[in-house]
């Protein structure tokens, strides 16, 4: 059986009806355990103090922000190449979730920056490129909601997603370049080599799993809603013609 059969709306609805509760419960479990573990039962970092606890929401949301866009890109390509409606609607469903993830990463980062860097916001390349990603999400969602015809909207947003991805990468390099010449204190940059100790590592993994599962749950539910909305639209169009 080919994977593409799940792109059939009826089959998709039938399958996901069974899957959604499972994923929802799993994600709630992972999130609860991971966050509670992280929040209550991990020691403070010797340098960052208790702020290190923010890592359990900051890092997972930052990862999901990027992964959501990647998923939308793949779904858009599938729609443009194979014309599977479910994938176009899944891209549409993922966008607001991705936008909220980006927002969470930005907000937690900003809150974290206040004690660590002494400022809410610095035009650090990583932060800046996240802000740009947020703008792309906004534009994508706005374009979806501005066009009435669902197929045309799917086509145009897919084109935007692809072109936007290229420009998002380009912006990343541009931003990196732009901030290079500036005497930004080393303390401002996040050191990727800095190892996270095991005490922080396992709850972090759980939290990440929780965010991934939460994303999957939300996207599935929203895709189901979009499919229903699409059928509603079709019924209304038929009624208008009759």
């Amino acid at each position: 059986m080919s994977l593409w059969e799940y792109a059939n709306p009826t089959r998709f609805m039938a399958t996901t009806r069974r899957i959604v509760p499972v994923v929802a419960v799993l994600s709630a479990l992972c999130l609860a355990v991971g966050l509670v573990w992280g929040f209550f039962f991990t020691p403070d970092d010797y340098r960052q103090g208790s702020t290190v606890k923010i890592i359990y929401i900051h890092v997972p949301s930052a990862m999901m922000a990027i992964n959501a866009w990647a998923m939308m890109l793949v779904a858009s390509l599938i729609w443009l190449v194979r014309r599977h409606h479910v994938s176009a609607l899944a891209a549409r469903a993922a966008a607001p979730v991705g936008a909220v993830m980006t927002l969470i990463a930005l907000i937690t980062g900003a809150i974290w920056g206040q004690p660590m860097w002494g400022t809410w916001w610095a035009w650090d390349p990583r932060l800046t490129s996240f802000l740009i990603l947020f703008l792309f999400y906004l534009g994508y969602v706005a374009l979806w909601s501005a066009i009435e015809d669902p197929d045309i909207a799917a086509d145009l947003t897919s084109v935007l997603c692809i072109v936007g991805s290229v420009f998002a990468m380009l912006s990343r390099y541009a931003v990196n370049f732009w901030n290079q010449g500036l005497h930004q204190g080393a303390s401002l940059s996040m050191d990727r080599e800095e190892h996270v100790a095991d005490v922080f590592y396992y709850p972090l993994l759980l939290a990440i799993a929780g965010f991934v599962l939460l994303f999957v749950t939300l996207v599935l539910v929203r895709t189901r809603t979009e499919i229903r909305a699409r059928r509603l639209h079709a019924l209304q169009m038929r009624a208008r013609m009759a």
Binding site: W120, A122, W123, L138
Partner: protein, 218 residues
């Protein structure tokens, strides 16, 4: 009039052209400024009040052409002109709805964006005050410009051109209040002047705008 405002708000929410887009534009302009000027936070924080005021003004500007043009195109404006409410009231209601969908959200969002530009902390409060006092004037002047250009197809650029010079006094006093607020200087005079400009604009321009509308409907 209350009905007209409510209807315009409903339209703005439904059509998705209201709150969201203006705010996003504001956000983008503020984000673009450091790209153009460089990421040096000390420079940015010095010019932050002015940049925020300019950004608010520009996002206000971009939504002006919706004030009357949509109603003109579908004939609603003709019908409103024949209705038993004065055209001045229509203008005020329209400007009011525009302010509620643009000026008010911008005012509320400005402090958040102030964070991005490292606006000094005492500046936040005065930024909000100056925007709250100044944006009604922006909407009213904008409604006047929109009334002047309502019959022109794709008149957006012309509208911006007409309106921008009219925005100068508001911008000067508003940005001055915000800047002095950020630097903890005395700001009584510009504040009074800003309030004066807004008061005068709101009191007088509805008549001019209604006149312009009447001429354009002929």
């Amino acid at each position: 009039m209350r009905r007209l405002i409510l209807r315009d708000l409903a339209l703005a929410v439904r059509a998705g052209g209201g709150f969201g887009l203006g705010l996003s534009f504001f956000l983008i302009v503020v984000v673009l400024v450091p790209f153009a000027l460089g990421p040096d936070t000390s420079v940015l924080s010095g010019i932050a009040p002015g940049v925020l005021w300019l950004g608010a003004l520009l996002s206000c500007l971009l939504s002006l052409d919706r004030i009357f043009a949509l109603d003109y195109e579908d004939g609603t404006l003709d019908l409103l002109a024949c209705a038993p409410i004065p055209l001045e009231g229509v203008v005020i209601a329209k400007a009011c709805a525009h302010w509620l969908t643009t000026g008010l959200p911008l005012t509320l969002a400005a402090p958040v964006l102030g964070v991005l530009l490292n606006l000094p902390v005492p500046g936040f409060w005065w930024l909000v005050v100056s925007l709250a006092l100044g944006t009604p004037a922006l909407s009213m002047i904008g409604a006047f410009g929109a009334a002047l250009t309502v019959g022109i197809r794709r008149g957006g650029l012309l509208l911006s051109l007409l309106v921008l010079p009219l925005y100068v006094p508001t911008l000067i006093f508003g940005a001055e209040v915000a800047r002095r607020g950020a630097e903890r200087l005395d700001l009584g005079v510009p504040l009074a002047l800003l309030a004066g400009v807004t008061g005068a604009v709101v009191a007088l321009l509805p008549f001019a705008s209604a006149g312009a509308l009447r001429i354009n409907l002929r």
